[in-house]
């Protein structure tokens, strides 16, 4: 059975890579199969790992009188069911309620935490090294890095500041910001290439060693 699985995986891998030559029915077969299997897998898993343990089991326990606390699950279940009113032209206005609850609860949870994680902490991280410079605990390289980081942050933010026309000194500051952005994009692109090549290496390793092992 394991050997059969390896042959199926090898066949589908070769189907996908056949696209490098040109589009063909083998590639499309593997692509559609992947989409179908992925959707089916996620649906079954979400039902078994989400709906059944979190909604159905507690609700059923409440109905059978095993644990009445499960009745409280009726509230989120009913709110969730309101999403399906979208399919009825007469009742589709009811869908506003679950959407409003989702947006309200989501914003309430996210705003304070996101502000702290991505604004306050990042601002602290940018200016904190200067306290260490003042205390004399940083090396020359670290001091250079701290200053470079502040220059990068200020110049990049200036590039995205559109309330003032980018002329004179502002123009040059925003140009430095563009240079920092380009370096950032270059780094991201280089890392992406590394990641994509790793995927190819893994598949070639599979074809040569696992699949090849079943042949030779």
């Amino acid at each position: 059975m394991e050997v059969f699985g390896i042959w199926v995986a090898a066949f589908l891998t070769l189907c996908i890579y056949s696209f490098l030559y040109r589009d063909n029915p083998f590639y499309r077969f593997a692509e559609y199969l992947f989409v179908g299997v992925s959707v089916g897998y996620v649906f079954v898993l979400t039902t078994h790992q989400g709906f059944i343990p979190l909604a159905w089991k507690p609700f059923w326990a409440a109905i059978t009188g095993e644990s009445l606390i499960g009745l409280i699950k009726l509230i989120p279940i009913c709110i969730g069911l309101l999403f399906f009113t979208r399919f009825s032209t007469q009742h589709q206005w009811l869908v506003r309620y679950p959407i409003a609850i989702l947006i309200g609860a989501g914003s309430g949870l996210a705003i304070p935490n996101v502000l702290r994680a991505n604004i306050f902490e990042q601002t602290r991280g940018t200016i904190e090294p200067f306290a260490a410079i003042h205390a004399g605990t940083l090396s020359a390289g670290e001091i250079f890095g701290a200053i470079l980081m502040v220059i990068g942050v200020v110049c990049t933010l200036t590039y995205f500041f559109f309330s003032i026309e980018h002329r004179g000194p502002i123009k040059w500051v925003s140009k430095v910001g563009i240079a920092f952005l380009m370096i950032g994009f270059g780094s991201a692109f280089g890392n992406t290439v590394m990641g994509r090549v790793a995927l190819l290496i893994q598949r070639v390793d599979f074809l040569l060693n696992d699949w090849g092992g079943t042949i030779f």
Binding site: G50, P53, Q122, M194, G195, A198, L199, I201, V204
Partner: protein, 271 residues
């Protein structure tokens, strides 16, 4: 000659890349690997944990990213089991369930770790942020059972683990935005220590968190996996693949240089 290079069929480049992968795969060459500070920080943090500590390992990735993340997951699990550090496996991605359960089982079989005593795999629950926040209050309120359906109350290693207070570290193996979600909700709200192992595509987004200390360590793609295997002195796929990767990078860099030279020479001729 240069004009021909500018019009080269892209399929020739594909063949060159495949050859650059196949030849070093068949004739392995060991190139030196230097360990970066973020990888060493995570390794040293786990090494310093007392025996019997519990960490959480989140398999937040699918099969499309296993080439980069499986080698680092294996190395981390080996280190934890060898150090007698207990592991709670979970996932915020539905595709991560099969990956996580298979991988933990595989390394447990190699190291002799016991299900329920040295590790437990809780599986997947939908709702990312809500799962993270729920576990901050009570893990059992989100995962009543493990992935195999065994109640948490019957699992020996979970008897003294209620929430993040008993967890020394969360390591997020991620191919998407899950690390930011863990930082935003588990680190900010519950002060949980977080480290990450991520794919090459999202490494750049992680460095700001590393610089502020919101991440205590970072393993970067297949290169990071090779570094981790070097630190453990346990060569595996990470080291093998990064050596092959180096040859492909040389080829790509060479093609970029040749392409640029050909482009500028042709433009000068046209002027």
């Amino acid at each position: 000659m240069l004009e021909k290079l500018m019009d080269i069929d892209r399929r020739i480049i594909f063949i060159l890349v495949v050859l650059a992968v196949i030849i070093p795969t068949l004739l392995p060459i060991n190139l030196p690997i230097s360990v970066s500070a973020p990888t060493r920080q995570l390794h040293d943090y786990i090494n310093a944990l007392p025996a019997g500590s519990t960490i959480m390992l989140a398999f937040d990735y699918g099969p499309a990213s296993l080439a980069e993340l499986n080698p680092m997951a294996k190395a981390l699990l080996k280190q934890c089991f060898d150090k007698d550090v207990r592991v709670i496996g979970i996932t915020l991605a539905p595709e991560g369930t099969a990956m996580g359960s298979t991988l933990i089982q595989e390394i447990a079989d190699e190291t002799g770790a016991i299900d329920g005593e040295d590790y437990v795999f809780l599986g997947y629950r939908p709702g990312e942020e809500l799962v993270i926040l729920g576990m901050g209050s009570d893990i059992a309120s989100v995962f009543e059972t493990d992935y195999n359906g065994k109640p948490l109350a019957d699992i020996p290693m979970m008897t003294n683990v209620t929430n993040y207070d008993q967890i020394s570290l969360l390591i997020d193996l991620a191919s998407g935005s899950s690390t930011e979600i863990w930082i935003t909700y588990a680190n900010v709200r519950y002060n949980l220590q977080i480290a990450a192992g991520v794919t090459g595509v999202i490494i750049s987004q992680m460095y700001p968190y590393l610089q502020t200390g919101q991440l205590i360590g970072l393993i970067s793609g297949i290169a990071g996996a090779a570094e981790y295997e070097t630190l453990l002195d346990a060569p595996a796929k990470g080291i093998l693949w990064i050596n092959i990767e180096s040859f492909v990078h040389l080829l790509i860099a060479g093609l970029v240089v040749i392409g640029n030279i050909a482009f500028f020479v042709q433009r000068r001729k046209e002027e």
